[in-house]
């Protein structure tokens, strides 16, 4: 079996199994802890606080005007590279074909030239994100192995993908194999680190929003 066969064969299968089981366990694991009943009388009706939760899912993507002067640039950087990643992962035709083979769904992609430009921009933003993490005293203090490794493996996927698309540095098959291997590593790492926020972000916002709405407070 050659490297490409290994990367998209057994390695990918193992990675997908670890990813799926890990994600499920990470969610079920803390979900098994007890949930306390709130006996305090709500100010709002159940519908109102569920609505409050749903609204917070959307509104928390945009900083409140009171905070934007301090957080605007950092949040813009954060959301921009996420949008870049989504575009590259979901709108690059070879990715669509791969995802289609997993889920049985196909959708239109962007021309590869556009994807290349988005990839380069995303990569640049990624470098800026790392620069910010190591130079901003708050972020540097909070950061640990998880932050740097999650950055590194995502960056490795991006760089290897770009190299494979541009056929730079080695044979195409080798570059593609390296790209898929980085994806395999990312999938294995995913449930153990902060990449899990992809699954947490909306429920977390919704819960906080609903709790505050239950009290009739600003969320």
């Amino acid at each position: 079996m050659d490297l490409l066969g290994f990367a998209r064969g057994p390695a990918l299968k193992v990675a997908l199994v670890v990813f799926c089981l890990g994600v499920v366990w990470r969610i079920v694991g803390f979900g098994l802890l007890r949930i306390r009943r709130d006996w305090n009388k709500p100010r709002a009706s159940v519908l109102k606080y569920l609505f409050g939760g749903a609204v917070t899912v959307a509104t928390r993507s945009m900083p409140h005007p009171e905070f934007i002067a301090r957080t605007g640039p950092g949040e813009a950087l954060g959301y921009s590279y996420h949008l870049g990643l989504f575009a590259v992962v979901l709108l690059f035709t070879p990715h669509i074909i791969f995802l289609g083979s997993l889920f049985g769904l196909l959708w239109p992609g962007l021309p590869s030239g556009v994807i290349t430009v988005i990839s380069v921009l995303t990569l640049t933003l990624f470098v800026a994100v790392l620069f910010r993490r190591v130079t901003n005293p708050v972020m540097r203090m909070l950061s640990n192995f998880d932050d740097y490794f999650s950055w590194f493996i995502t960056m490795a996927v991006l760089v290897s993908g770009l190299a494979a698309t541009a056929h730079v540095g080695a044979r195409y098959e080798t570059l593609l194999a390296l790209h898929i291997l980085t994806v395999d590593v990312l999938l294995i790492w995913f449930p153990f680190g902060k990449l899990m926020h992809a699954f947490y972000i909306f429920p977390s916002r919704a819960i906080n929003g609903a709790i505050l709405a239950r009290k009739g407070a600003t969320s």
């Binding site: 366990w25 990470r26 079920v28 694991g29 803390f30 979900g31 098994l32 802890l33 007890r34 949930i35 306390r36 709130d38 006996w39 305090n40 009388k41 100010r43 917070t56 928390r60 993507s61 900083p63 409140h64 009171e66 905070f67 301090r70 957080t71 950092g74 949040e75 954060g78 901003n136 005293p137 708050v138 972020m139 540097r140 203090m141 909070l142 950061s143 640990n144 998880d146 932050d147 153990f192 902060k194 899990m196 926020h197 947490y200 972000i201 429920p203 977390s204 916002r205 919704a206 819960i207 906080n208 929003g209 709790i211 505050l212 009290k215 009739g216 407070a217 600003t218 969320s219």
Partner: protein, 442 residues
């Protein structure tokens, strides 16, 4: 032995003193992870280390010191959760990826969890992941209390309140002081009636520093002619168990009021102008009681706004000139009492010149969460207050009003410290001074 460990020993019952600080810390962390619950676990799991919460915190904004980043204040507890209770805890433990929390570590965190956090909840509004950092801090304070690491001022007041109902000894019991205030201000103090629609309680801050606010409460209820009573065995609104992180003590202190309200068959427990008392009674007491409370808990401004709306309460113009208002965090941001204070002020013809950050986004006064009581925290507290005072000055208002006596006291303390040119007024007193009576009708 460091100061904090000294406090640790001083805060413990004799049986506990025999344990080493390390053993107590290990026990406290164990109880933290056992108590944590799915909701808090989810919050700890969700943090992406973006540090944005720092940009909401008045302690960080004033100092630019990274250690005041709200989520950092629970770092040892995150560490304990990952090591002991998270889904991959065995892995973290086996590979030594998360070390056990040490006594030294917690000793340092005492400053971060008590001296430099008011549990004001502003950070919970900024987190892009929607983490309620303030509730994590409250849980972390429980563990600090269990480890014997609650600051001595809070611990001692909580212990005294649990024992006697008063956070501190006084020359005259509060009950007698209350009656004396009534006599001094010429207002009847309804006390120990066997039955009443409304049970009243009073902030210890008002008894000791603002007797006029106590009289205002009595005058307003007398004016409305409602059936109400104070109860000698449940007078104090504040809950120092809540401040100190002593959950069981908080429960016992809350129970004192709950039992008295039940005894006099009250339909409403009226919380006076005290923010943390409102949180403790309105949003936590039923959980500690273990079932719904058989009465409503209302803040005095909510109650008065209801009376206003129903037409029972009519107010005259206050003539306060240019006026601004401080929204107490526990009432507004964490409590949802948004509109009532403004409805009352509107009824008194006050058109507010709002602070730049107001309503749910208001900056904390800096004294809440027991911080005002912690002596060593004063220099940092003053530093954080400078921004708030500047915001108030920037409105150009000459009258400054709030609806929490701890906030009021914090601002009055700042007035003395900074030679600030404003006196803080109580909204309740403003209402009491502007009741439309037969005599005041034109």
């Amino acid at each position: 032995m460091s100061d904090a460990i000294g406090i640790l020993a001083a805060n413990l019952a004799p049986a506990e003193e025999a344990r080493t600080p390390e053993a107590r810390v290990a026990g406290a962390m164990r109880s933290f992870v056992q108590e944590i619950g799915a909701m808090s676990a989810f919050r700890l799991e969700s943090c992406i280390h973006c540090g944005i919460c720092s940009d909401a915190c008045h302690f960080y904004i004033a100092t630019e010191d990274p250690q005041y980043t709200p989520i950092w204040k629970v770092e040892p507890f995150k560490q304990a959760y990952k090591r002991e209770a998270s889904p991959f805890a065995p892995l973290f433990k086996l590979l030594g990826l998360k070390r056990a929390v040490t006594a030294d570590q917690l000793e340092h965190w005492q400053h971060l969890l008590f001296d430099s956090c008011n549990m004001c909840g502003r950070c919970s509004l900024i987190c892009p992941m929607g983490i309620d950092v303030a509730s994590l801090i409250e849980q972390a304070r429980h563990a600090m209390f269990d480890a014997g690491l609650a600051p001595k001022e809070l611990y001692q007041k909580a212990a005294h309140q649990r024992e006697t109902g008063q956070p501190e000894a006084s020359a005259e019991p509060y009950r007698d002081q209350l009656l004396a205030i009534g006599a001094r201000f010429g207002v009847e103090i309804p006390l120990d009636k066997p039955e009443a629609e409304i049970m009243l309680c009073v902030p210890r801050t008002d008894i000791e520093h603002y007797p006029s606010a106590v009289a205002a409460l009595a005058r307003v209820v007398q004016h409305l002619g409602v059936s109400c009573t104070f109860r000698s065995d449940g007078l104090v609104a504040e809950n120092y168990g809540y401040y100190a992180g002593g959950k069981e003590w908080q429960r016992e202190i809350s129970l004192r009021l709950i039992e008295q309200a039940i005894a006099c068959k009250a339909k409403i427990l009226l919380v006076p102008e005290c923010g943390h008392a409102y949180t403790a009674l309105r949003w936590e007491a039923a959980d500690l009681y273990g079932k719904p409370l058989p009465f409503k808990v209302r803040h005095v401004t909510e109650f008065l706004a209801d009376e206003l709306q129903s037409g029972h309460l009519k107010l005259t113009p206050a003539g306060t000139g240019k006026t601004t208002f401080h929204d107490p965090c526990q009432l507004v941001r964490k409590g949802g009492v948004n509109d009532a204070p403004r409805a009352l002020m509107t009824a008194m013809g006050i058109k507010l010149d709002e602070l730049k950050n107001h309503g749910g986004f208001s900056y904390c006064c800096g004294g809440g969460g027991g911080v005002l009581d912690i002596e060593r925290a004063a220099p940092l507290r003053y530093r954080t207050m400078e921004n708030k005072l500047r915001e108030i000055d920037d409105t150009g208002a000459t009258t400054f009003v709030t609806s929490c006596s701890d906030c009021r006291r914090t601002f009055d303390d700042a007035q003395a410290h900074f030679n600030w040119d404003k006196t803080t007024h109580s909204l309740l007193e403003l209402v009491a001074n502007n009741l439309l009576t037969a005599a005041s009708r034109p």
